[in-house]
Symmetry: C2
Subunit: 556 residues, 2 copies
């Protein structure tokens, strides 16, 4: 038997990537990227800065274009490769990115009648138009269904499923009324590839359902109708049209349809794995298992670990999501994250533009400094705080400036702030019984930035390891494909064969860590003072009052 | 009788200015500037960044050069002007800027034996080598002479007389032992011009003596010998050589000596007024009187007002100096200040270099913003806080950054922070019974920057007026000269005749002030949290711990 391959499809914010992986050893033999055609860099915008939509046609076109490209490349470059060597397809996507669909399961936006209406498009994860509805959902749940909040860190986000749909009900009822149901992007792509979009056939992934739609078998699946009806009777009505078939990534939604086999040249019937979010399959591609924290570091971070689901697991306050099977089958998936990491450094370079220096020069200068020598400390809240405060209405802080403070000192303080934020997440996991023995990093910063990785090691006092693959989400999707195709008996053996680490490991420097341990107590004092009402010094109203004044002035 | 003129000599940090003023109406007919010849821009530096010295020879050379130049210019340009039309000379200087002198009153540094020793030079106001001694003096006074501290805001500064001399005793005893006494620059120049340097002839000004040497008739003049001896017996010995003749600027120290008459061509015997600090005579030149606050705004600010000295005046906590007669005879002089104003804006432009923008571009952009719209607030402590916290170990803070915060927003927040600092000083005066009815600004920023002046009006809710003269210290010195020459019967009538305001008055905008009133409560919350131990939220240790760590790391 020749080599067998799996395809991972990774749907990002601006583009989709296809990756062909050898199921025997994880070797990545071909990759292709296609940027979505609609909107600005694939995102349909509006004068309302909260709005961010995508056109579902791009999702279908992207699958076709990238699959054809990787197959052609592999056929040309890998001896013996044939399309028939592909045994399965896995899919990861952004989320929560729901879209309204008709009674046939087809997105409304693919109907010419609706295609120009932005409310009929997919509501991209970073669409925050439902911010008021999010607050309403959080408030109601706190009053009558506190158990719902306990698994999502205590706050229902404006980025999530019901916030968006409720906002559509309120502001675009003609769209809501024309739709039969709503589907997450994570579920749309596998269903489309397997021809299972129609009601009664369609399978949803536990990842989106559990993390964004408050699906939990402990309370019978989706939130109950009484709860939904208090938000809006139409939302309660929608519950009847949400699929009760919710599975984890060890299942297939079906086989590749004849239509898609024809389009791509792949064998009809090869299994399509249940979809999941990019970070969750990315964690699998990085080698997540109990005791391992995977940090996917980009403009923001996603921090994922798992815990055996037979263990007793207390709720972990401030951790955005705890969902059984959302990452690896048989394990609780725990998802935390930082609202901005690379975005903060980008802000400093692209908005403040200090001395015209770029990341490379600032990094070189910042790397020459010793921990603590600048006298600066910052809070990493320029985009709010996802974990452990779950509060978007927080802002940045820089403290300690003199008349001689330099850009490199500020840059380093911003990097340190994100490291302190990362440590706060690790500490929170461990405080609630989720032991972290190993940290594996992936994403562009982990790949390319030795300064930041070393600083993270020094701040956390833990070795920082880096995933071997530079495209862990697509690799994770390919692993899911390999498992549902039977190429490996389970995820553990698939991960053992197909994932790995880079040789470099950033070891913490004891002297640097000692200084950072001191600085962290200062960070934590400020964190608690400005971010909580339980700190010894309560300055929690400060940032919110400033934002209230700002919003009032800007809207006047 | 033809017009009569007075000369004001203004000794700054880098240069000396001479100004000829018509005593009838304050018209400024000639001015000349000479940069000191020694050191870098007139300041002798060292690898120790705390060290800043000046050569006394520059003070003498500067008087000669600039007086000759203004006389020549006036003779050429003003019909009927003759050197004989000059009726007196006044002198203002930086301070505390003391220098060691021999038994003849001549500075040691003028002796070739000592001229190369930096400790034998004048110890410029911004020399902070005596920082440890300052803390020692404050500590001892707090224990056994709290009344000394009550008049100087509670803390004895490293910039002041005894800190410097005690540091000389400790670190350069050969210099101290070779000196008969020490003289302030403020007193040296008038004594040199009048030939009264010798012990027994020499008169000191109350301004330096009161503000920097803790001279107060309430306790018999200089600090008592018991107190000084506890610091160092040599300091107690020095007290016997400090002149007991201490006067305010309504007195002359003597007449112009024959030697200086010959050097300059001025009439011998014309009176030389007692010297004072630049800000104090600057306040006179700007029109200070009870109810008027004069703000001299430059890299830092000096904020001066006066109160009738028959009034009951409580100590004003945090106000650096309250000295009877230090500004206007017959009034308490009250001196406050901000440690950095223009210096903070300069830091942002010259160190952070945001987007390569200069003050002009940043001002234009910042001026387009509305109060509160950036969501930012800053603390103006990049160089510590002189009033009302009297604490050099404080640092800057910027709060409210998002991923879109711009340089102009930060620049405006820094300007606002200095305005909030200014308001805090005004409020403190009024809280302790020193009513401020009118604010007159002078200095480069007041002259040239309508944006900042309008913002100060909006933040304080008070009209901001600007002094007519652009060189109020030299004008104030000329006013003192006019008074001691008998050209006016007193300072009030001299000021009425010789000072004035520019036509422009910056009126507060009610809507802007309303927003700033809200923002000020936030500023004040942060100010009290980080700057005091009495705020509702006590974060006072934060900045100091960061500085301790920084200092330790830097010195490791």
């Amino acid at each position: 038997m020749g080599s067998r391959y799996a395809i991972g499809l990774d749907y990002g914010t601006n583009s989709v990537r296809a990756l062909i992986v050898d199921v025997a050893d994880g070797r990545e033999i071909a990759t292709a990227i296609w940027t979505y055609a609609h909107g600005h860099q694939g995102v349909v915008l509006d004068k309302d800065p909260n709005l961010a939509r995508q056109h579902p046609a791009d999702y279908l076109k992207g699958a076709e274009v990238t699959i054809l490209e990787v197959l052609a490349f592999a056929a040309k470059t890998v001896p013996g490769f044939k399309s028939e060597s592909v045994v399965g397809i896995g899919v990861d996507t952004t989320g929560s990115t729901p879209m309204p669909v008709g009674a046939d399961g087809i997105p409304l936006a693919l109907d010419p009648k609706w295609t120009a209406n932005p409310n009929a498009l997919a509501w991209l994860w970073k669409d925050h138009t439902g911010w008021a509805e999010a607050a309403e959902i959080t408030k109601l749940a706190a009053e009558i269904r506190p158990q719902y909040l306990a698994k999502i860190g205590g706050t229902y986000s404006s980025e999530w499923f019901y916030s968006k749909i409720l906002h559509c009900i309120r502001t675009a009822p003609e769209v809501f009324d024309a739709a039969y149901s709503w589907i997450e992007l994570e579920d749309f792509v596998p269903a489309a590839l397997s021809g299972t979009l129609a009601p009664g056939k369609f399978i949803a992934g536990i990842c989106a359902a559990g993390h964004k739609a408050m699906y939990n078998t402990a309370w019978g699946g989706y939130p109950d109708k009484e709860f939904l009806a208090k938000l809006d009777p139409k939302l309660a009505g929608l519950r009847d049209h949400l699929t009760p078939r919710v599975k984890d990534v060890s299942s297939a939604v079906g086989g590749l349809s004849a239509e898609w086999a024809k389009k791509t040249g792949l064998p009809a019937g090869i299994p399509i794995a249940v979809g999941a979010f990019d970070c969750h399959l990315g964690a699998i591609g990085a080698g997540v298992k109990p005791g391992v924290l995977v940090k996917i570091i980009g403009t923001s971070t996603c921090d994922i670990t798992v815990k055996v689901n037979t263990d007793k697991l207390a709720d972990v306050p401030g951790v955005c999501g705890i969902v059984n099977g959302s990452v690896l089958p048989g394990y609780f998936g725990l998802e935390a994250g930082q609202s901005a990491v690379g975005d903060i450094f980008n802000w400093f370079v692209e908005y403040v533009k200090p001395a015209g220096l770029g990341h490379v020069e600032l990094t070189a200068e910042a790397d020459k400094l010793k921990p603590g020598e600048s006298g600066l400390v910052a809070l990493d809240w320029n985009n709010g705080n996802r974990t452990i405060l779950v509060d978007q209405r927080l802002t940045g802080l820089l403290l300690g400036q003199t008349l001689y403070t330099t850009p490199a000192e500020i840059y380093r303080a911003l990097v340190e702030a994100t490291a302190f934020g990362a440590l706060t997440i690790i500490n929170r996991f461990e405080e609630y019984g989720v032991k972290i023995d190993e940290v594996i990093n992936c994403g562009g910063i982990a790949e390319k930035n030795a300064f930041i990785m070393q600083l993270y090691a020094d701040v956390t006092g833990r070795p920082m390891k880096v995933s071997r693959s530079a495209q862990t989400p697509a690799l994770g999707s390919a692993i899911a494909a390999a498992v549902v195709a039977g190429a490996h008996k389970d995820f553990a053996s698939a991960q053992a064969a197909m994932t790995g680490l880079k040789e470099v490991v950033y070891q913490p420097d004891a002297a640097a860590h000692a200084v950072y341990a001191e600085l962290y107590t200062i960070y934590r004092t400020l964190h608690d003072a400005f971010g909580t009402t339980s700190g010894a010094a309560n300055l929690a109203p400060v940032m919110k009052r400033l934002m209230d004044i700002r919003d009032r002035v800007r809207s006047a």
